[in-house]
Symmetry: none
């Protein structure tokens, strides 16, 4: 099986001067590898026209595909289209559709279009326009030499949308691809090295690649199966992993089919029971509630700074009392309360842990869980919110078993 | 003033397949720019010996400095030293000191040294060894063609330690450096192209570089002044920019001296007045409050889903009434209320704007502002929270003038 060679090319002073970490390159590479490309090189250059044009020429002779991000904005230092014109001798022509789309973008927002935005509607001769529903800069694609070039904006949200909705299908038509099968097991509440130890106890079938990836709020276990491995062998292997990890798993995603988030899982569980929820937050200061964005079963949340509690007080009793009162007030099926017993000055010390007391009242039971969070104040806030929501997820899942 | 040209080169399959985001390149670039280098390119390649050697040859003819990360480990896919030997015709020689240091690393940890670790003690002929106090892989440096090459491990903690403790001093000796002065003007509430139009109306002094950067929640205007420009010229230029942008500016940061966030500015203004705040959120669902993390003047926040309002109702009156009631309940100096009059199903449509009605009560006045947010539901939430907080910032700043 032949794997076409792909390169990633990023344009932007902010990338090469280090003001921004180029996460686009990693994101695109992962998608392309999953589709069956081999990635040979990432390159980033700034806003020097000659550098850009030379690099484009080099790539056109050594790669089958190049995805380029950045440099499509309205400002004078956005030079990508100009560099393409120079490198490949393709004059920039006004694309009437692109101009209309940029004009619509501004009129919909009731803003005046700056003259500089007009520049974004000029595309290299012979290129295909890629519409950008999320911003002003259209992308474009063209063949030069051996290489098919795709140009998309550098704003990650716009780039990802355009890749997923337009570029991917075009690549599948343009290239003969055979992808390996990637299964991602998403977990919460166990560390990367713990997971590694758990999974080292059994032998993987020949040819399977196991890897781990620690994201901000979850640890992923990735299993890459060769395209020609029997499906039952693959499934046995996945099930073996799931058994050994246990209830820390909140989702199993197959390549391209889904990217399940913790809130998706909780949303389904809540809707299945037609439950409603109220939340009382302290350390998280609104973040538990903010993460439930768009979930109509969240009927109320409130934050007040934690009063320092006398050490003799029973914090468990107090949390349960708050939960009962809140549940009565808002008449919700569930109430989640998270409080703590630490002086607030410990928030700022990354080496000081904060012990959080979680209570969840459901129609059937009162569940309690103590957790500890460490790190910077922002990390503490985020971890406390995720752990509270994962506590909700585990309780709901136990009920459903 | 001549600025030497630097490149960053990263080796590793995990980088080019996207399993790891290459944060080393950004970190090193920022340090080098601050020292007075100009960065021309970042490149990442995998573990193919021929690719590596070719790239090293290319770089040796076009850059004055190249910092290379990764590929120094003990495994068979760590090929950097071999690639250097091949590219520059410098055989690998056993460095006795390096071997002793690797042996010490293992004996100190009471672990047996694997045979493969011996490989790490072989360095290209004529190179300087860079000791690694944090891991097994020593680094090395050598001149080839016009370029001085520095090779350090890819593990970020080891790389950073070695750069800070050994490489930086060597660079200061090796090169004549003079750093430019970077001023960053941070704004909220104006678009990138609008800002550009505003700033195009006056001529910048010769040699000043103006650039723009749109981050998630702010737009930055960057002014790069040559090191030899008189300070008064620089200051006049900054002041001219500030005047023309107006109250959208929330901070002016100097390179290395600070990185001011909107919440820092609001925190200072609130503390100066000894003000306290309560917040009522709807669309933002706790995010305004969550962004005030660690700010002790926030005494309460609450979220409840918005009741659909009869179009005949006066939403302004309603917001003011909620604000008065909340201020009384929590006895805060300020109360911020943000409500809307749109059906919740419009949240999910990125092209549908949500009109938000903001009211801020202070001891002296009631201020009102209507804003519109668009985009995905997450973007709407984030923009609504930032705009509400920026409304608070502008009101506090007007008071202080």
């Amino acid at each position: 099986m032949h794997h076409p060679i792909a390169e990633i090319f990023s344009q932007g002073e902010e990338v090469i001067t280090g003001q921004v970490v180029d996460s686009n390159a990693a994101w695109l590479s992962e998608k392309l590898v999953q589709m069956g490309f081999v990635i040979s090189r990432h390159t980033a250059v700034g806003d020097k026209l000659q550098d850009l044009a030379e690099l484009l020429q080099e790539i056109s002779s050594r790669a089958d595909l190049c995805i380029c991000t950045g440099g499509l904005g309205p400002t004078i230092d956005d030079l990508t289209a100009e560099a393409v014109a120079l490198a490949f001798g393709r004059p920039l022509l006004l694309d009437v559709e692109a101009l209309a789309s940029i004009e619509r973008y501004f009129s919909r927002r009731k803003r005046t279009m700056a003259a500089s935005n007009r520049k974004q509607a000029y595309l290299p001769e012979g290129s295909i326009r890629l519409d950008n529903a999320w911003g002003t800069a259209p992308g474009f694609a063209l063949q030069n030499g051996r290489c098919w070039f795709v140009f998309v904006p550098g704003v990650p949200s716009e780039m990802k949308q355009m890749f997923t909705e337009q570029v991917k299908t075009k690549l599948e038509k343009q290239f003969v691809l055979q992808a390996d099968r990637l299964i991602t097991i998403k977990t919460l509440g166990v560390g990367e090295s713990e997971l590694q130890q758990q999974l080292n106890t059994f032998n993987l079938p020949e040819g399977v690649r196991l890897s781990f990836r620690a994201a901000v709020s979850e640890v992923q276990v990735k299993l890459l199966f060769p395209a020609d491995m029997p499906e039952t062998t693959q499934e046995n292997c996945v099930n073996q992993c799931l058994d050994s990890i246990g209830d820390a798993v909140f989702a199993v995603d197959e390549l391209n089919q889904s990217d399940t988030q913790l809130m998706d899982v909780i949303g389904q569980l809540m809707q299945a029971e037609k439950y409603t929820l109220s939340v009382v937050e302290t350390l998280t200061q609104g973040l538990i509630s903010a993460k439930c964005l768009g979930q109509e079963w969240l009927l109320a949340s409130s934050y007040k700074p934690m009063q320092v509690i006398n050490k003799q007080d029973d914090i468990a009793q107090r949390a349960v009392a708050i939960a009962h009162k809140t549940r009565q007030k808002y008449r919700t099926d569930l109430t989640l309360v998270q409080i703590y017993q630490t002086a607030p000055n410990q928030f700022h010390d990354k080496d000081q842990g904060i012990v959080l007391y979680n209570v969840l009242i459901t129609p059937d039971q009162i569940v309690q869980k103590t957790i500890t969070v460490m790190g910077s104040i922002e990390q503490k806030q985020n971890r406390a919110a995720i752990k509270a929501l994962d506590f909700l997820r585990r309780t709901l899942q136990k009920k459903c078993l």
